[in-house]
Symmetry: C2
């Protein structure tokens, strides 16, 4: 029934993954265990946090990894790969470990949100799909939550499918938007496959199809008396749309005792029109009629029109959500953090850059989120070496990794490990929560953030610190590289 | 073998398509033939033209249209649709006509690029997928061609999969980019499924995997002596990367008589680094070594660094191409242009708006492109009523639809109909060209545009005019609506 979770996306990799893979194979490095981190460097739109979404699709992808005979034949035709390597690929499967933050977790720049521990070829091959999936859905979730917060309790319906960047852009974008707080979607496939409630009423074409607007409205009310939301801007909102809607409500709904109904305004000055429409509806006795607004909305416009007193009960948001128009790229990267040597020792690796922000955090890591006990609020994330354990019964001193004299001692706190095991030796040991559970978890976790972190403009920089041990290892590597 | 052309995307529609469809069905309007146009209002990035791509996927979609039993069960569970309508959907197939411009055609605001003529339910149902497919691929093609033109003959490789908005964003985006002039892609799946040449060499992880940069380079040259492009910025481009590359070229390639090789610079000041690297390579005798550049490039940056004398032979372009970052939405819309009445007469329909640019062009239409005979250049597009015929052996006077006193008489021209029949009575009668043919056609058609239309900033507004007959019908409808 679900198209998505059965697809074989093995071949959705950047070609260099396999030129490298073939090289590892031929030089005997293919079994070398590698540690790769997914992390990002900047929150889109200058926000204070992002929301990590897409893990369920990563799991499906890994479970379905398999080169078909046609894939091997295609790869052979490229005249790049050794025949022995192609034979190896025929039986390829993922045998490594994956750790990740649960879907819906608020995440911050610089911390691993997913870690792959696997032989070189495997770890390299899965790079592209993992990145594109987490990047895409985290982007849309992060944007959707901004829009949800701007609407201040009013429901947001996602309905941007037609402007999405491809079918998964639409279907999985709608999934991410729901996890991040949207009330539902127009995308029917997302409902069928992921249980995100889909809904919708009419387009302008419905109104145009009839000889006049009133007949279009009346017919719709007769068909759907309990879900009559009428699109009132095909001709003129105030001169014809709202009066015709009131007439249709009065003639069709009232005799049935129905007072719950709606209108949608999709163009023009929404603030002005909604206030006028509200007054007209109230004067006619339709105080329970909800006003929906749509038309190129985003968090900035929604905040602005609400500030001006727009009388809107719910919003439909399309292209600016489903493409994250103001910032359509989530810059998650996949970087080597360590390799295992012949004796099984984990050797930390670092990627240097003249741009200090681009220097990676080396080593196989853990991430702890530290919550203040009294308020329940998240105070800092702490990156540790994999074998460190934080004991939250004792005070801990954290420090800024750049300005190390900036220190803070936490006493009454709880520490929670963010990265949980997803795959172990190629086997998925993670029970994916339902979409409703993911959504509740996501909104609950956002509640643990201070308002200062949630601010739209100039939010507080949430602390992502390194343990002393990890900081020492990193600076050791930096000093050695510079020597 | 090709995942994409067999997928059933019937359920990828906005829910309101079926609430309307159910309404048409129950009110006996379902058999009413409707004419819907796809058109757009603005070229992204302020460009002078867009490129229409995605028709092949629309054809696949229409051919695969079918509600499964599971789909019907899902729809029934929504408690919205009449049981007779659900029975009807079980045997649903597309029975209408589709006309479209061939893939790769340069197109302009306001003209139909695809027209659906079908019974109301069918025409309505296909709206979402047709729009999302044409919007997505046209967006990427239009952006890619800007980047290709900025590079002024230097090849562009698309490699943005990891930052694409979902899997089709990556796979079909790479297809669109190739049609619009990119030389190839990193996306292996796009090669397998669409024959877009995929390639790629190494990531930073390859270099980090070895004990030192030189060993990484030497090993790669040994493995791929005929395709040795080395990534030189893992540590320091000028201090280690280029010297180590030269050493590896000299020790591995020269003894084999190979002088063709390459380096890639993926960070830092590309203009400065490429000039220094060029000088170092030339001084070492590697004048045939190509320099590739990547790192958040787009048409603006490429023009700028070339203007400053960057020594770049080819570019790799990622996120800013594959998401069309500077403008990630192509605003194609799907609007009712006419309906057939009981006598088979075509009744033109118009959508009014206070914003004059949003008023639609009514009626079932043809589009002619008028080419100047002497230069072969495209001069204007002319929208006509479906039964008009342009005789290009006689002079024709075209006029600005807003400022009708602006007139121009064309004498030596040829007229070409842009919209060609794709489906007739549900049967596809269009032979899709190969991707190579589409690409050649696209680049050839762009050559028919005047430089003034191809300018990046403030391009000439290409004429999209209405025939006198169509203009009269439109103004008649406007006057009636305002009365």
């Amino acid at each position: 029934m679900n198209l998505h979770d059965q697809r074989n996306y093995t071949m959705l990799f950047d070609f260099y993954e396999l030129t490298m893979g073939n090289g590892y194979f031929l030089t005997g490095m293919d079994k070398r265990k590698c540690y790769f981190d997914v992390f990002f460097r900047q929150v889109p739109d200058g926000g204070g946090f992002a929301i990590c979404v897409g893990l369920e699709q990563v799991i499906d992808y890994i479970n379905n990894l398999k080169f078909t005979d046609e894939d091997i034949a295609y790869l052979r035709s490229k005249n790049v790969f050794d025949e022995k390597f192609l034979v190896f690929l025929r039986d390829f499967r993922f045998t490594g470990d994956i750790y990740a933050v649960p879907e819906g977790t608020p995440v911050f720049p610089g911390e691993p949100i997913l870690t792959v521990v696997a032989p070189a070829i495997e770890a390299q091959l899965v790079e592209t799909y993992i990145l594109l999936t987490l990047n895409h859905q985290s982007l849309i979730a992060t944007k959707a939550n901004r829009i949800v917060r701007a609407a201040n309790g009013r429901p947001i319906s996602e309905f941007g499918s037609r402007r999405a960047q491809g079918s998964d852009g639409a279907v999985l974008g709608a999934r991410a938007a729901y996890i991040a707080g949207c009330a539902g979607t127009a995308c029917t496939m997302t409902d069928r496959d992921y249980g995100v409630p889909a809904g919708g009423t009419m387009a302008h074409s419905w109104v145009q199809m009839f000889d006049d607007e009133y007949t279009a409205f009346k017919t719709y009310c007769e068909l759907y008396p309990n879900a009559a939301t009428l699109l009132v801007d095909t001709y003129s909102v105030l001169k014809s749309g709202v009066p015709n809607a009131i007439k249709a409500f009065r003639e069709v709904l009232l005799p049935k005792g129905i007072t719950k109904c709606g209108i949608r305004i999709d163009s023009g000055d929404i603030t002005y029109l909604s206030r006028k429409a509200r007054a007209m509806l109230d004067a006619a006795g339709f105080t329970e009629c909800k006003i929906f607004a749509s038309n190129a909305l985003d968090e900035t416009i929604i905040r602005d029109i609400l500030l001006q007193g727009a009388q809107i009960d719910a919003f439909g948001v399309g292209e600016r959500l489903i493409t994250s128009k103001s910032e359509p790229v989530f810059g998650g990267v996949y970087k080597l953090a360590a390799v295992q040597d012949g004796d099984g020792e984990i050797i930390p690796k670092i990627k240097i850059s003249e741009n200090a922000a681009k220097i990676t955090n080396p080593h196989f890591k853990k991430v702890y989120r530290l919550y203040e006990k009294e308020s329940g609020k998240a105070t800092a994330d702490l990156l540790c070496v994999y074998d460190e354990v934080i004991d939250d019964s004792k005070p801990i001193t954290i420090f800024d990794p750049d300005y190390t004299w900036k220190r803070k001692t936490l006493t009454d706190f709880t520490a929670r490990e963010l990265l949980v095991p997803i795959f172990r030796a190629g086997k998925c040991l993670y029970q994916t929560p339902t979409i409703g559970e993911i959504r509740s978890y996501c909104l609950g976790q956002i509640d643990t953030l201070w308002d200062e972190v949630k601010r739209f403009e100039n939010p507080h920089n949430y602390y992502v610190d390194l343990s002393q041990k990890l900081w020492d290892i990193k600076h050791d590597l930096l000093n050695k590289a510079n020597a």
